[in-house]
Symmetry: C2
Subunit: 584 residues, 2 copies
Amino acid sequence: MYRSHNCGELNANHINKEVTLAGWVQKSRDKGFMIWVDLRDRYGITQLIFDESRTEKSVFELAKTLGREFVVQVKGTVIERESKNNNIPTGEIEILVSELTILNAAILPPFTIEDETDGGEDIRMKYRYLDIRRNPVKNALLFRHNVAMHVRNYLSNQGFCEIETPYLIKSTPEGARDFVVPSRMNEGQFYALPQSPQTFKQLLMVGGMDKYFQIVKCFRDEDLRADRQPEFTQIDCEMAFVEQEDILNVFEGLTRHLLKEIKGIEVDKFPRITYDYAMKTYGNDKPDIRFDMKFGELNEVAQHKDFPVFNSAELVVGIAAPNCASYTRKEIDALIDWVKRPQVGASGMVYVKCEADGTYKSSVDKFYDQDDLAKWAEITGAKAGDMIFILSGKADKTRTQLSALRMELATRLGLRNPSEFAPLWVVDFPLLEFDEESNRYHAMHHPFTSPKPEDFELLETNPGKVRANAYDMVLNGNEIGGGSIRIHDKNLQARMFNLLGFTPEEAENQFGFLMNAFQYGAPPHGGLAFGLDRLVAILGGQETIRDFIAFPKNNSGRDVMIDAPSVIDDKQLEELHIKLDITK
Amino acid sequence: MYRSHNCGELNANHINKEVTLAGWVQKSRDKGFMIWVDLRDRYGITQLIFDESRTEKSVFELAKTLGREFVVQVKGTVIERESKNNNIPTGEIEILVSELTILNAAILPPFTIEDETDGGEDIRMKYRYLDIRRNPVKNALLFRHNVAMHVRNYLSNQGFCEIETPYLIKSTPEGARDFVVPSRMNEGQFYALPQSPQTFKQLLMVGGMDKYFQIVKCFRDEDLRADRQPEFTQIDCEMAFVEQEDILNVFEGLTRHLLKEIKGIEVDKFPRITYDYAMKTYGNDKPDIRFDMKFGELNEVAQHKDFPVFNSAELVVGIAAPNCASYTRKEIDALIDWVKRPQVGASGMVYVKCEADGTYKSSVDKFYDQDDLAKWAEITGAKAGDMIFILSGKADKTRTQLSALRMELATRLGLRNPSEFAPLWVVDFPLLEFDEESNRYHAMHHPFTSPKPEDFELLETNPGKVRANAYDMVLNGNEIGGGSIRIHDKNLQARMFNLLGFTPEEAENQFGFLMNAFQYGAPPHGGLAFGLDRLVAILGGQETIRDFIAFPKNNSGRDVMIDAPSVIDDKQLEELHIKLDITK
């Protein structure tokens, strides 16, 4: 062992002790007759002192050569510091060094190894191994480990069994694009990397395993929106002989446990709202409920006056921004410009100031009187001092726009506190969504989701109205988990595939093994999956997942550190029975 | 919830309780006026009783329709059984059923769902979800989970941090064949699936993470010998600021912990033997030391007599088979035939019976007298009643042959007791091995393994003699883990690549990121990886890993259940910029 102690544990109790430390030179201050070095490792920083009058000359001279990020081993005595540093646990002591060994020299790092670095995202990713030396990244990785251990121990204690499902599986065209792997031993054939272990976990239920989980990598070959990764980690779970209620309770329990053990926060029973309610009330199926600003629908009170914009709209809907009545004309105009940006796409916005004296002042005063505006305030929950913002147009689009505004206002108003946690369940998702492009229904969740039994009869007559036993867990405006009760009946599964446009042959070819399994005694079952990357980031109080992943890829799916993907040699291609097909 | 209790927990304490159970029909006995059904779930079996005189007629009639593996839910009362079954925890009671719901019917399974099934390997794999219902497979998966949880908690408590490394990495020609993944977004380029996270864990050490582990899938596209899988699981570990001794101690501690917690077995400090000693003494670098039969080298005492076979041999070597002096001529001939099979390849075998009266009788009596044979007995450790078997020829080949015989004899003699555990370390592996085919040295472990500092000078002059700081943990004749101290110096790594036949450009192109990282202050580090599949199988007392893997692949790398790999459609190929290159 190169050390007797680490760099985070020595304090006044160790004074006069002989110790050996090893680590990196964080910084060095050379005062001529005295050299101080901050020695860093995973556990902290300990100050070393080399003193011309007390340190052997050869050691003192060697200490002068130390540069940033050199790896050294020192032996020395713990002594009391003259000027103590109360900000760090080792701040009372320093090490008077008697022996110094340079274990490895270092060239100058391309960015500073500090909590606030001067390195941009790109260079930090290229030298990720240096970035990981920085506290924010190091602590994010330790935090992730801690969360994962809590998840595993909690579920294991509840009788769940972690079972590894295969990574080399079969490609299916439903859902997102697969990454595929050419098979050398099976000419012309390909494995696919799993987008999730969905069918395998269902087969484990057919196999009687009853409570399954797995923390597992999944893969989607999609064009990467910001903060998405081609490989990501799920906490994947499934249970048999359960109803939706049981699943919600188990995983609400897990989430409450994590919040308590990791954040020290006790959370009440999670609110449960339906998908329809979420869309009407927040314009969004993953509402952030740390703050209010619920939608108020104003059609009844705002239409049939003389304002043609509202009269011609399918939906007139507003929110009350708290304490914003004092916004200046300039601030309001900036917000109107914000909603008119192509990313949001509103054509305009109406506002109503709710003055402190109980009167209203709006941008549509010539169409509406004070009584009208008072009704708007009532419906949107606006109080004196608030500002009502109103959008109108096609219902779906307008809700999406107002949802964007709601989030933006909350951000500007400081209502999205990352150390506050407001989880909820959104339930009763639609089973299907109609896709204009392919002119058919697609599964909103996946083709294995069970319709609600009371909606079975709508399956062929009004598929868009069928609700699913599907649910999402939402935390602070992010979907962190989602799942459903699954189909466990072969015939219902066949109806579902038919509805999704599969021919019986296609269904058999792609999912025959599952439908076959259902014939041998499949129990009722369901489950859910959490996105671990996102969950950890939110619990860690961050918006972006990247620092919670040791070696993330960039938006082109590249690992810029190792420079992957890369070309492979012709012999490999030949063995795999493939040729390149490059466009030129 | 479909049940108030599971099928393994009810006993006499629950008599008169109303319960709800759900599970599979294991079997049904219809006596006309009385029907007994064994209901099975993950937790056990509970007997149900339907009695014409006590059960409602409709329920009784429905019970008559139950077939094997039907999924049912029952409500009823716990009553005392007339004839108790002391073999199962629920054997004192049965459930007098009042309500019966068939949750899912089942067609007849293709093999019996019993501990000893009538299904062969192929059909069990095709219907793996049914195979998992059988206790041996189900228990193997639960056992694996238990081992993995113990590993994680032990290492985590020792300060190790589990960090997920990427699955989409870069192909390198060194080592086994890679599975590759064509990149859609990076035309003509490929990711590779990791054969191990080796370089990433080293970069984590450079990043200061200091104690890393991960239970992680790895991939090798090799022709599959029996009991190998193209995807397999490693317990992958790495530590910084440590020497070989520290690593051996930590992972010996882990293994001892597993043996104690999981098997209830306390093991002394593991023996440590060198690779050279292992090869000379057992003919094998992963000796099974549950039994003795050490090799005795007989050159000095058996050569220069009149037996030309021995005189012309590079090595004459024997083992004493305990209590085998009574073998008949027929038994001996069968053994001689066994070593002459092409799989072993000996050209003949000499034997010496050590009779109870202290005399010797051998197949070479005309060349050797009793004093000669007494020396052989002394060197091989043979006692009265033992039989010495002797092989001769080229040293390496002869050792391998005698090792095979040693294992075979131990198996026949019942010396390989699966509930006995004899771990050891084999250390001081050679750094390199010469490959005749490519006419160059290959890394015995991998190119990142550090030579022993005292052998540095031999690197260019006598590479075959250089020993590495490399070690294997061996358990009951299986290598269950292996690792090494790594190179952490850029120049030494460059020398190593040069020795392995890399041009500087190739080294830079493939491993430039690692050598670059070494310049920024790499600490001394090392680690090891355990094969989890094998470890679990051995701890579980089994020779084969397949039942400890939920969904294994066959020897052609196929998943016969889901039928993967499979063809993919032309659109997918096109998007991935590849074409098939089928030989016809």
